[in-house]
Symmetry: C2
Subunit: 538 residues, 2 copies
């Protein structure tokens, strides 16, 4: 594909009237062509107005066309081929294998949402039939369904140029809900954004949809983002990025004349709790555990939302052995290129602040990488009493750094959990003998995280029906939601009730004949569509 | 029961350290005993801390005890007997029949939520079983459920002393979700609040629950409410009241260190659209339609969230006949006592402002009531072109006033709908010949309201599974929710995922043996508990 260097608004290439920006190769600090023209706030309105125009037809699309459209996006992304992996690699420094996996995840979740659209439970159909002879008053026929909120603004994330960007989880779930999307490309990977944007726009065109269903915009980072969230045509926001940026968007959304929901996934330390039983195996077992931890810390240069930033290890001989093994494992690592020079700079500042904090020692440090912006992975150590009193030790360092915290008792762990801010995940490493010790941690962790893992690592977020990639503030802006997995579609829906509406005026999903074969909740009880098809409730 | 005149915090009578306040009989402007002592912000913390303490046990209660508790509250409210109706009548001026109906609705919704708790679908159990041999990576067992958010602050509404107050919809749905409740009584009906509060507290005690599950507090209106919403132990807010108060609580909640959701139901004009077909019957038919409208406007002195404040009628002879019939019907009405002298004063000011607005004429006015604070029901008229340009005509007048708007075409109606703010409801009066004209209004109205009604009136909100009592801002603070009906429970829940957790450590609802017989979504497909019981997925 040819990169135009411009925004793609409602199917048209739009040359921005603002400044220009370039991608950079973080491995070399070299500028990448083409230049990207940045749009102005006036030009932004073309995209949001087109999205509003697209809503009536897109929000009422039949399920088969709707699902086919999502699958076509996946097909079109795959059809870009190697060019996408190469460009994304140049712009992010991420290795090809990681990007290939991320592409599979991206297309996989588009296809998963296509199935969600076909299956249709997200439409939330409820029917309370009329009871004309009820006393003292008759009951009217009342039906309910979920409708799409309206145009959604999605912000690309620097650390997932595919799976949390142009056609990533937020876009896929918003489109699946029936919401047009205005996508703000991340300026750190503009070419990757455009390649995928063209794939989405092609699907829009091929399916004959209103072109306003999808726009891809390039603009001056913070200001165009704020204008997008403040735009009256935008009805919800999906964001993955820093806490500062996320909170700023939340404030803008709350201050609108009509406030809108912001779904921001912002930061997480992803604590891991190691119990004694998990350390009673052989020296090789301890080495293996340490290696898994270091892999989770250093994978993708530590730039995953779920990278473990804290590991709680017991005091005493077993914990000493683990700390030593962790030190050896991380010392054998080399740095990998980080996403941008700015991110690498923040990592250096954060690691320095943590390393010089009171009560913090160095457990192990690897070698710097051969490329630019590839700092040495580093693991620090401290005691739980320092952790609970020093807020510096609670700050996320985005990148390959982590802190091993030694604890003496379950009470100390419970106290530490109480003082944690909201997190995406918590992980427990244990064996059967640890169950009684670990049991009280589960309800405590439920109050702090969106996902609890036993004998696994938080990285590698499965995209399925049961996944929660969310958690209490400040991990996310809204603990009632997830940004990964099929439940993510619920973020973009709202219920409407229809009372005594004649069949001729009822929206299709609510009609008696159930043309879309939806499962329906009749008087509070779910009635599967199979029964419908068999005419049981004809 | 004896009224103590004090707050009831975690099962204890707490004498407020602040000033005192009295209820007033709005029919006579007489003060009602006893004096109510108002708590301070320090005393408030007793209630929120107790609620936090109650959370671990209450949030994990077995369904049968949990449901029994809700039913016991309903039984205890009924056991108060006539005393409750008498006191509520004294404090609100509402007639006994209305209060008896409201009591039945209150106990009915508690029992409905008991069934929701027994049925258990709100727990949202999802299981994606492990796939150990999946390539390239195995899939871990991942399970999801919804957990209660934590202690909820509920604010009593002036206009529903029972159904939207102490044990009303917000309290019932929060308790059903497993959230302890701190209830801020409305100072306009303190005695009614206390009678019901004692009924709730008795159920807490009789079921051996942690006393912090419920507290009833009296405090200085706005300030204690703000402190309650700002309290770190509070995790969500339910509110029904004015737009100014609701928006102020939203701001406080958004400015917290950890923001929390506010579910505020604030204001609505509830437009009614009359089509020509509905006016082609006999003169008696038109009189009947006018009488129904006037009843909906004047019932409960117009102090219902869903009272119709606007009626769109066609220009021409048919509309003229309707307007004349409306004028006759309202002229025959007498004013009923409003809830408070302050509310009656606001009504007078609002009606005067509307009546003196450009292009507004008087269609009909009844007689003032014989009691205090019983202004004459009044219906005004205007043209759609004045309505779309003058914001004064869009302001809610809480009480028995309404505005008949004459329109010339469907385009004018669509334009008027576009300019409406968010509403709870919209109603259409039509016959089959009007279907083609009415059809384009349905999608337009979906964007503005939470419920659409055909050939009915918006008052009389059914409490069931399909009801939506909600709508876009400023009708409510959060269009994704309803405050009436079983879906209201979702406001107080959030999802948590459990990855590879051993059975011994899994929360009960997620265990393989499914001890609570819950319907579960397995790999995305709902599997009814009946199959469970038959051992199909043992």
């Amino acid at each position: 594909m040819t990169l135009t260097g411009h925004s793609l608004i409602a199917g048209q290439t739009v040359v921005g009237d603002g400044k220009t920006a370039f991608g950079f190769n973080p491995a070399t600090n070299e500028q990448l062509d083409p230049a990207y023209s940045l749009i102005t706030e006036d030009q932004l309105k073309l995209a949001t107005a087109a999205a509003a125009d697209a809503y009536p037809s897109f929000s009422t699309l039949d399920p088969e066309t709707h699902a086919g459209f999502l699958e076509a996006i996946a097909d079109n992304i795959e059809a870009i081929g190697e060019e996408l992996i190469v460009r994304a690699g140049q712009e992010t420094g991420l290795p090809a294998a990681r990007l290939q996996g991320e592409r599979a995840r991206t297309t996989g979740q588009l296809r998963l949402f296509a199935n969600v659209v076909r299956q249709g439970d997200f439409r939330g159909v409820r029917v309370d039939p009329a009871i004309p002879d009820r006393t003292p008053l008759p009951r009217a026929d009342i039906r309910q369904r979920q409708i799409p909120l309206g145009p959604v603004a999605v912000f690309g994330a620097s650390n997932f140029p595919l799976a949390f960007s142009t056609a990533g989880g937020d876009t896929a779930s918003a489109l699946a809900a029936g919401c047009p999307v205005v996508f703000k490309a991340h300026n750190a990977h503009p070419g990757t954004g455009e390649l995928v944007g063209q794939a989405v726009a092609k699907a829009v065109k091929d399916f004959g949809l209103h072109p306003g269903v999808f726009s891809l915009i390039y603009g001056p980072g913070a200001s165009i983002g704020q204008a997008l969230v403040a735009d009256p045509n935008i009805k919800a926001v999906g964001f993955t990025g820093s806490q500062a940026a996320g909170i700023s968007l939340m404030r803008t959304a709350a201050a609108r004349r009509v406030p809108i929901p912001v779904y921001a996934e912002m930061s997480s330390l992803n604590p891991v709790f190691v119990f004694e039983g998990a350390l009673k195996g052989s020296a090789e077992d301890i080495d293996a555990l340490a290696a898994q931890y270091v892999t989770a810390v250093t994978g993708s240069s530590g730039q995953l939302c779920t990278s473990p930033g804290l590991l709680f290890a017991p005091e005493g001989e077993l914990g000493d052995k683990l700390a030593a093994a962790v030190g050896r494992a991380v010392s054998a690592c080399s740095g990998q290129t980080m996403l941008t020079a700015g991110i690498a700079g923040s990592w250096n500042a954060g690691a320095e602040a943590l390393g010089s904090a009171d009560g913090v020692n160095l457990i192990g440090k690897g070698a710097a990488g051969a490329t630019e912006n590839a700092p040495a992975p580093t693991i620090f150590g401290t005691q739980v009493r320092d952790f609970v009193t020093n807020h510096v030790l609670h700050e996320e360092i985005f990148g390959a750094a982590s802190l091993v915290i030694r604890y003496g008792s379950t009470d100390e762990l419970l106290d530490a959990i109480k003082r944690l801010e909201g997190q995406l995940t918590a992980s427990l490493q244990l064996t059967e003998e640890d169950y009684p010790t670990a049991a009280p941690l589960i309800p405590a962790l439920e109050q702090k995280v969106g996902r609890i893992i036993v004998n696994g690592w938080p990285t590698g977020v499965e995209v399925g029906h049961a996944m929660v990639h969310g958690g209490p503030f400040p991990a996310t802006s809204d603990s009632r939601t997830t940004s990964v997995g099929t439940l993510a579609i619920n973020r973009f829906l709202r219920p409407v009730a229809y009372q005594n509406i004649p069949q001729e005026l009822l929206p299709t999903p609510l009609q008696d004949t159930n043309p879309w074969h939806l499962n329906r909740r009749i008087d509070g009880v779910v009635e599967a569509a199979e029964a419908q098809k068999a005419g049981i409730n004809a």
